[in-house]
Symmetry: C2
């Protein structure tokens, strides 16, 4: 039931990976869009962070059906970042993608636990520092 609930949520999450001006936006802008949306979501009342990450942290069981769904969702995000990083000219798109999911999940865990707030641009600023260092346009 938990796995089904997470599966139902995927289209909602996937929509948040797509910039509304995907045709004209640069790879850099598409990545920044994901982080802006994540920060907005974190500020919503009752938000407890990314449900996929929470399931992975709580279940600690990679074989559980819900963990399988959650891992796939996380891999989708990482792959999305890697694709955009490559298109944007990153020296090492795979490394940058792993760095970007680190801050995405760190922000999700901390904001969900109410020990951090993301309404002052922290997440986008941190992502932008990593994009700058990797030379993504």
């Amino acid at each position: 039931m938990l796995a089904a609930s997470l599966e139902r949520r995927r289209p909602w999450c996937e929509a948040r990976l797509r910039s509304p001006d995907a045709q004209s936006a640069t790879p850099r802008e598409r990545i920044q869009y994901v982080f802006r949306r994540a920060a907005e979501n974190a500020a919503a009342p009752g938000c407890c962070g990314c449900p996929y990450l929470a399931v992975l942290v709580e279940l600690k069981d990679g074989e559980h059906p819900a963990s399988v769904v959650a891992r796939a969702a996380k891999e989708l995000l990482r792959g999305c970042f890697e694709e955009q990083a490559g298109q944007g000219g990153a020296g090492d798109p795979a490394l940058l993608a792993r760095q970007l999911v680190l801050i995405f999940d760190g922000a999700s865990a901390r904001a969900g636990a109410r020990i951090e707030h993301l309404d002052d641009g922290l997440l986008t600023a941190t992502a932008t520092t990593l994009l700058d260092a990797a030379g993504v346009k």
Copy 2:
């Protein structure tokens, strides 16, 4: 009981914030040391990530005694980073400290859930990118 268990663990964690060559190390090296140790710990058999973060994510109850202990431990880490960032000449030590705990907790959550591995220097490399951008020596 959970709170007491976390409280007992604090000296162990605090020791990992102190570089063994604390007298001669630069602030930058002291911060990098914390990330190197975190990556080593994540590779230990049976490690499920930072127990303080796990408690905060799982309980979702800021008033629970265990959450209070966990939040204090997380604040200790953030404060340690901010102090070192200030000593190292960061333009905005408070911002850098928040960025560093984002990647610390993101790495902990992801490695603990076995969707990331930290044995190739990912965590220290990401921290170093943030230290470079902030001009920390």
